[in-house]
């Protein structure tokens, strides 16, 4: 690009200095807040006041951070699900639907199976069922992809709508096992008390957050050190090399997609054993599955970083929602604008990590004809 007498170019970096790995995300966040601030200003609120209130209510107060951790818990799981598949260049977009199925599966196990079991058996079993159902929900796209090469992006995405209507059917459309029989108002039937976990004190953080964090760290270690992690990294980098080394692309594709589905299903389970306790159509409103894809992209598909980006994202949401509770409420859309600009700048910042900006003076060259 040439502006006046200056030529502005992006040049690939030969090596990336270490400090850039911290500086680029930090600056991206700053720019996102500046852009978000402009929009806050347009609504007639003070940008700095609003942003500091958002930070306080999202992260800096006890209530804020515990709320944030609570809503970050399933988000970590869907983020891990997306990161796990994307790392192998398998684009599972169906976390949303797999999460609903996880919710359904867990609720079923919690209602039907958990009856006389003690909590330390019932809770893991309920979680496991959710994971299983999440995996089953991605089975069809996975088989189609592994055997016929059908795009898993389209098939997994379309199944989201099926799952969505399945939940609506169970609660609003039928009087089945998932529906609370005691009221005429359509809502989910609560699972057995023994299959539920209480939150920490009066907070809205549940012990499942520990499971989610442990999963992230465990996955990080496992994929770095194990033969399975090694084979997936070879396959992701070069399918021909994997074939050369005798790895089975079918096995790898199937297992990665199924495990990704199980992680997304677990997000739904954690919602059931934690705050909801039932099949709750409220989950359909939040879009945790799609947000998981964003969280994973922000974390650059690093499992441990997913924890941080999920908390960042959940905090923006919690803080943004609580801004409505004030004498001069800020519209909730502002939180969405902020989320969008964080994502945009974080991904845009990548360009500057890989390239550097050079501005050079140019002399105008006369063109010989």
């Amino acid at each position: 690009m040439i502006i006046g007498n200056y030529r502005i170019e992006l040049e690939p970096r030969l090596s990336t200095p270490k400090w850039l790995y911290a500086a680029v995300p930090a600056l991206s966040l700053l720019f996102a807040f500046v852009v978000g601030g402009v929009f806050i200003g347009l609504t007639g609120h003070s940008p700095i006041g609003t942003l500091s209130l958002l930070i306080e209510r999202g992260y800096a107060s006890t209530k804020g951070i515990t709320n944030t951790l609570g809503s970050a818990t399933p988000l970590i799981c869907t983020g891990l699900a997306a990161a796990f598949a994307f790392r192998m260049n398998l684009f599972n977009i169906g976390e949303e639907g797999q999460m609903y199925l996880g919710m359904i599966g867990s609720a079923w196990a919690g209602i039907v199976l958990a009856g006389h079991l003690p909590g330390f058996v019932a809770v893991p079993m309920v979680l496991l069922f959710g994971a299983l159902c999440g995996a089953l929900w991605v089975l069809l796209p996975a088989v189609l992809r592994a055997k016929l090469g059908t795009s898993e992006i389209v098939s997994s995405l379309l199944l989201n709508y099926v799952a969505l209507n399945l939940v609506n059917y169970f609660i609003f459309g039928s009087r089945g096992i998932f529906r609370d029989p005691t009221t005429s108002f359509p809502q989910g039937r609560l699972i057995e008390e023994s299959a539920r976990l209480g939150s920490f004190g009066t907070t809205r953080t549940y012990p499942t957050v520990l499971i989610a964090v442990a999963l992230a760290i465990g996955l990080y270690w496992f994929m770095k050190r194990s033969n399975y992690g090694y084979e997936t990294s070879v396959f992701a980098d070069s399918p021909n090399t994997a074939r050369y080394a005798g790895m089975s692309s079918t096995k790898l594709t199937l297992s990665v997609l199924l495990f990704s589905g199980a992680l997304a299903g677990l997000a739904g389970s954690m919602y059931v054993v934690g705050p909801a306790g039932k099949v709750d159509p409220g989950l359909l409103q939040i879009g945790l599955g799609y947000a998981g894809i964003v969280v994973a992209a922000l974390a650059r598909y690093n499992f441990v970083a997913v924890i941080l980006t999920a908390i960042l994202f959940a905090g923006l949401r919690e803080g943004g929602a609580s801004l409505q509770i004030s004498s001069n409420p800020v519209p909730i859309s502002i939180a969405v604008v902020l989320q969008g600009s964080v994502l945009l700048f974080a991904l845009g910042g990548e360009v500057f990590r890989r390239n550097r900006l050079r501005i050079r003076r140019v002399q105008q060259v006369s063109v010989a004809s």
């Binding site: 690939p12 194990s226 090694y230 070069s238 074939r243 050369y244 005798g246 010989a368």
Partner: protein, 505 residues
Amino acid sequence: MGSHRSGGATLFALSARQVTKRFPGVLANDRVDFDLLPGEVHTLLGENGAGKSTLASVLCGLYKPDEGAVLRNGTQVRLTSPRHGLQNGIAMVHQHFRLVDRFTVAENVVLGHRKLPFRLRANDLEDQVGQVAERFGLPLDPRAVVGELSAGQRQRVEIVKALYHGAEILLLDEPTALLAPPEVEKLFETVRAMTQAGKSVVFVSHKLGEVVDISDRVTVMRDGRVTGSVARGEADTRKLAELMVGRDIDLSPRRSRGEAKGTLLSLSNVGLTKDGVDHIAQVSFDVRAGEIVGVAGVSGNGQRELAEIVAGLIAPTSGEVSINGERVNGVGTRNVRKAGLAYVPEDRLGTGLAPSLSIVDNLVLTRDRGFLVDRKSAHAEAEAFIAQLEIKTPNALTATRKLSGGNSQKVLLAREIFAAGNNSRVLVVCSPTRGLDVGAVEAVHKLLDEARSAGKAILLISEDLDEVLTLADKILVLYRGSVVHEAMGDQVDVEAVGLAMAGLS
């Protein structure tokens, strides 16, 4: 070198004066001088990354030099694009052809011509193109669709295109890389016809092969600088290699020194038929311990299929492959490896190696790994290889795609020949030096020679005839999937091999 400077009596068709071109982190051309006489064949010789392609790109208008000047017939020209270069009579034929596959020859040739009539008359264009082709001895059917032509024919289309657009100077980037010997001969006839018409030709090449032989002058580059410019007959290949690499290079033939022992790899009547087409037909040969059997042939005559059959990637539809007496037809790569086979595929980065993974991780690729990957011992092994084989890399954790072709090939060969837990006795190697520098070629040939001395049975499949002639104890020529010629390495009739490669035996 200094005999003809600008301003003297000689008027150069094209010159570069103190041309400097920088890319991020690289000084590609450092004050380069280059002179081309009218009617001259001139080779620009240098290793990969020596800066010869950069210089050619500057000369044809693709790059603008950061400093220095390009002179056409003694006057400075500031070329802004390849089209602008062509307006000055300078054209370049790139190694990767820039043709539209679905167009006919004539359509491709006239493409981009500014003075075409609004309504194209196919017959007129075809006649014009046919005339240009005929004048320079380039047999081409102007009506043929380019997508159906061989590499040699496509190259002719590119040359005719340049001539049609009025090129006086033709820069050819690695022109013989894809050609069979008879096609190379044909190309040289064209070049002679062009020089007789007063046109000049520049070969850009990294190989000390035939192009050097027909050149009137060779300019050698190394690390972005010109290291020498010699007229025909002033220097032999050894001297040129030294100018290229900066040290003495030994490319003399290497043969088995001991007696070959028992048969380790055996193919009998192997065939591969797919969709009614015979890709491999009735191929039989043995490879014994301590010998290299070389398979020569022009690309696309079944080499890939043959290698993949032996490596267990595909199963033959008839016949039998056995390793160490064990039948291994289509048992899968892992089992073929267990039977004692190591395989260096032609596509080293992308098949033999995982490009984004480190040297360490690539050494692990063909090991038995267990549940957890043992990178500690692989790391030690990688460092030993880096030291022993002089692999140039920042460290053992560098991604293999960041290595030069020669260095990544060393990693691959090290893994397939020497790596721990590799008890292979048969080695299949495909085009191991394709695209490599002279120095790296020497190193790879030395490694293969060492593996042979260590008693391995080696099957060398290469499109580079010189390579097969240099290394093989026994030579087979593959043409359309069949072995059409056999010879012993030390008593080979090169002409007969060349004819067999073209299917003329």
